[in-house]
């Protein structure tokens, strides 16, 4: 048999460089925030040093026979940051621009987020450097299955759990579950979360972040007494997808005025409140909010962020509130629905203007909590009713909020610092209790 022809290496999804773990990486930047928290907590350097390096990193080659009969070898990674609190959990990404140092940052981030939300996991992140849009479904499936099989020694319900990430949807999670189950010779649902409901997915997994945001928003509004004598709040939501869209609907149902909404194409503003259902229905039909009819002012995303409102909730992409527009933000509270929507320097500007920011690690933690619930339900082999999931989600969000606020009051720091300090406290305590295995 002749060897398979090797395709040329001009694909954009092959052969990344693997930068070393130095000080100029996203991981180091992310850790800088938590180093600061550790210093404030007076945690000994030795107790904290284990957190400054990921526990384990695995690189695998992912050979895939393409539809034309040629062979391509993709790169796959899994970074497992810290297992003090329990098995690892983290996203699986399918991304042509995948970089190890970003995965390291993402894995570390998950460690802290799980700690704040008090779910018994450590953080991980991984993915395949592959461009989903350029690959057939069959090629993609073969890549995901091969990647999973290569990692089988380090993943498992009590080792490392995959959750959906960029371009990896519930269909992909189903392939992962099937590959592991086939290898293990028994059904293993708890190894992946974000699965389709028929394969053990949890109810509310599509709108978990929005549900969590709603709880946090309510608590924050009480804490800062934003409502006063008014009956409802005016809210601007940036983003109209599973986070922003669902949140806008929930807030409208609760009687709040969603005065602004945006998707990638631009935003809408109406000081009396938008007709959210009409807008989102239009988006569902046409795939976009562009050209949606209605009574509102059309503006750019940039303009929307500086419009007047009680609460501004950026739920779309990172770095939307920056030094350029932070001084123009016209809200009384900012809640980070997206990952890192406020830059570090913008954060300081908002602080100096007296606008509190509820940090992402707390505000959008509903996602990981429902992933945790899915894992619990899979372990028991018993699915909870939707109402049970939402009650328990409310409990976890409330407990996390209370713990962060307690830290904030105790240490006289702002919410973001308090959340980071809470995370470091919990992870360092678990690592210290467990000691060093030798």
């Amino acid at each position: 048999m002749s060897p398979l022809p090797i395709t040329d290496m001009s694909f954009d999804d092959l052969l990344p460089s693997t930068p070393p773990l130095d000080e100029e990486t996203p991981f180091a930047t992310m850790m800088g925030l938590f180093d600061e928290a550790a210093e404030k907590l007076l945690i000994e350097a030795t107790a904290y040093s284990i957190l400054r390096k990921p526990d384990r990193e695995i690189t695998v080659a992912v050979p895939v026979k393409l539809d034309d009969g040629t062979l391509a070898v993709f790169d796959g990674y899994r970074v497992q940051h810290n297992m003090g609190l329990g098995p690892f959990i983290g996203a699986l990404r399918l991304d042509p621009n995948l970089r190890v140092d970003e995965l390291r940052a993402l894995a570390g981030w998950m460690t802290w987020k799980c700690a704040v939300m008090n779910v018994p996991f450590g953080g991980a992140a991984g993915g395949i450097r592959i461009n989903r849009n350029r690959r057939s479904r069959g090629e993609l499936e073969r890549a995901v299955r091969r990647y999973t099989a290569s990692l089988i020694d380090v993943v498992g319900p009590d080792r490392d759990i995959f959750s959906p990430g960029r371009a990896a949807d519930e269909e992909v999670m189903g392939w992962v579950m099937d590959t592991i189950s086939s290898h293990e010779r028994h059904t293993t649902t708890a190894v992946v979360t974000g699965k389709p409901t028929v394969l053990g997915g949890s109810s509310h997994h599509h709108d978990s972040v929005a549900q969590g945001l709603r709880v946090i928003l309510k608590l924050a509004v009480e804490h800062y007494d934003l409502l006063g004598d008014a009956e409802s709040l005016s809210v601007i939501v940036q983003g109209a997808g599973s986070v922003g869209g669902n949140l806008a609907r929930l807030l409208r149902t609760e009687g709040h005025r969603v005065v602004g909404l945006a998707d990638v194409h631009g935003g809408f503003y109406n000081a009396d409140g938008l007709d959210i259902d009409a807008l989102l229905d239009f988006k569902e039909e046409t795939g976009s909010l562009e050209d949606a009819p209605g009574d509102f002012e059309r503006l750019t995303n940039e303009e929307l962020l500086t419009r007047r409102c009680d609460v501004l909730i950026p739920c779309a992409v990172p770095n939307v509130i920056t030094i350029r527009n932070a001084s123009g933000v016209n809200a009384r509270l900012v809640v980070e629905g997206a990952h890192g929507p406020v830059t570090a320097r913008a954060d300081r500007i908002l602080e100096s203007r007296g606008i509190p920011v509820v940090p992402d690690i707390l505000a959008n933690g509903g996602g990981v909590v429902v992933h945790y619930f899915e894992w619990v339900q899979n372990r028991m082999g018993y699915s909870w009713l939707e109402a049970v999931v939402s009650n328990r989600l409310r409990r976890f969000m409330t407990e996390a909020w209370d713990a962060v606020v307690e830290m904030k009051v105790d240490r006289k720091v702002r919410l973001r610092t308090a959340a980071n300090m809470l995370a470091v406290t919990r992870v360092a305590a678990a690592d210290k209790m467990r000691g060093v295995f030798a």
């Binding site: 329990g86 098995p87 498992g156 028991m380 305590a429």
Partner: protein, 428 residues
């Protein structure tokens, strides 16, 4: 008479102060009542498995010392073995065996799906550094790893071991099996899969047993004057909870002395004083009584919640209480038992009264297996349910066989294990 060859010889004479002989004697009485034939009786008296391991450890000064460790699994008919690990210089295999058997009966009384186990390492923790203790714990865990597991044998804290030790065991086991295994051990810190309500579980169980027993003998909580021997995890927390139930706690004690006030102590204040000053001797709001006289104080309920062999042939006749609730393990000797029974004093036995601890350990194991953790209210309400059911079952058994609650508890426990044993049959 036992007929099996593997059975240990019955020790011919009873040493009043050997709590393990006391346990064996009570087992024998229960087995007689149940008419257990020789073979089954032998099986239930013989530990299923015993393991002795050498524990070589590099000490902080670079020298090597070899410690000796044991794990005894008394009976796993009803489920994986459950029981503490103690670190003490006087650990010996006989004691470990007896304590393992004791755990079998205790788990059976409260009907949690475990058999009894016990382990220990011969060492003096006062002479060891933290790092040496950690190395001992990890090497001991590795040594007995083949017989441990969430579905095999689940250790817990005991004398000189604590949640820190349990965290080391959990970590060692998890690293060896290459996956997080919290259900391998109970009594862990909350952050590593521990259960809410565990610290106060034994005290809460004592309170519940006491309340049930009072209802049984028609004593109203508000009329009850209660003497509690001890003021730690069991006595102190038990007293606090009984105080909240409206009972009048007239005396509490620590190692040095007892405090007494016939109108009832301000229990929170006494415990706060103890926390602050580490002794009750300086407490001013009550009379100070020597410990030797505490048990004979005029009262309605006596809760010995300190150490074994407190109510003996010497003082049993002078006890004024009508009800005794055993918070400690083995506080009443066999001879004292007989004296109390003749005098009509009701004794709620240790294997029922202080089983709240193992019950919440069971809850911890359940929560770890699910990976989902209960609120404190749920833990407490489920504990309440298990304790009241166990009390009722013991009471009914005692009535049925016309025996004391203690013998009733042993009959119930032995019968449950024997029934499961017969159902499973002998694997060969």
């Amino acid at each position: 008479m036992p007929t099996g060859t593997a059975a240990a010889e019955d020790t011919p004479q009873i040493d009043e102060f050997n709590p393990f002989q006391a346990m064996a004697e009570r087992f024998a009485v229960a087995a007689d009542h149940l008419g257990l034939e020789g073979g089954v009786r032998d099986v239930l008296r013989t530990p299923d498995r015993e393991m002795t391991v050498a524990i070589p450890v590099i000490m902080d000064d670079g020298s090597t010392r070899v410690f000796r460790g044991y794990r005894v699994q008394h009976n796993f008919s009803r489920g994986p073995c459950k029981g503490g690990i103690r670190f003490a210089p006087d650990v010996n295999i006989d004691e470990v065996r007896a304590l393992a058997a004791w755990m079998t009966w205790k788990c059976s009384v409260v009907d949690v799906p475990f058999g009894g186990g016990k382990g220990g390492v011969i060492c003096d923790p006062r002479e060891l550094s933290e790092t040496e203790l950690e190395r001992i714990t990890r090497r001991y865990t590795t040594g007995i790893m083949d017989i441990l597991g969430p579905d095999r044998d689940v250790p817990a804290p005991d004398i000189n071991t604590n949640e820190r030790t349990m965290a080391w065991i959990m970590d060692t086991y998890s690293m060896h099996v290459r996956s997080t295994t919290t259900a391998i051990v109970t009594g862990k810190p909350l952050a590593l899969g521990g259960s809410k309500g565990r610290t106060e579980a034994t005290g809460r169980g004592v309170m519940i047993s006491c309340r049930e027993a009072m209802q049984k003998i028609g004593m109203r909580p508000e009329d009850a004057r209660v003497v509690v021997q001890g003021s730690g995890n069991v006595g102190g927390i038990g007293a606090m909870l009984m105080h909240r139930e409206g009972m009048r706690i007239v005396s509490l004690s620590d190692m040095y002395c007892s405090v007494y006030n016939d109108r009832g102590l301000d229990v929170p204040a006494v415990l706060a004083h103890l926390r602050e000053h580490r002794t009750l001797e300086t407490y001013k709001e009550a009379d100070i009584v020597p410990n030797a006289e505490q048990l004979q104080l005029d009262c309605d309920v006596l809760v010995p919640a300190a150490v074994e062999n407190q109510i003996t042939s010497r003082n049993a006749a002078d006890i004024k209480a009508k009800l005794i609730v055993e918070g400690a393990n083995g506080p009443t000797t066999v001879i004292a038992d007989k004296i109390l029974e003749e005098r009509g004093v009701v004794v709620v036995p240790d294997i029922l009264a202080n089983a709240g601890g193992v019950t919440v350990s069971y809850f911890e194991w359940v929560q770890d297996r699910a990976g989902f953790f209960w609120t404190e209210e749920i833990v407490n309400s489920r504990l309440e349910l298990i304790m009241t059911n166990a009390f009722q079952a013991v009471d009914e058994t005692a009535k049925k066989y016309d025996v004391s609650l203690r013998i009733g508890a042993y009959i119930l426990a032995v019968d449950r294990v024997a029934k499961v044993y017969k159902l499973r049959g002998i694997y060969s």
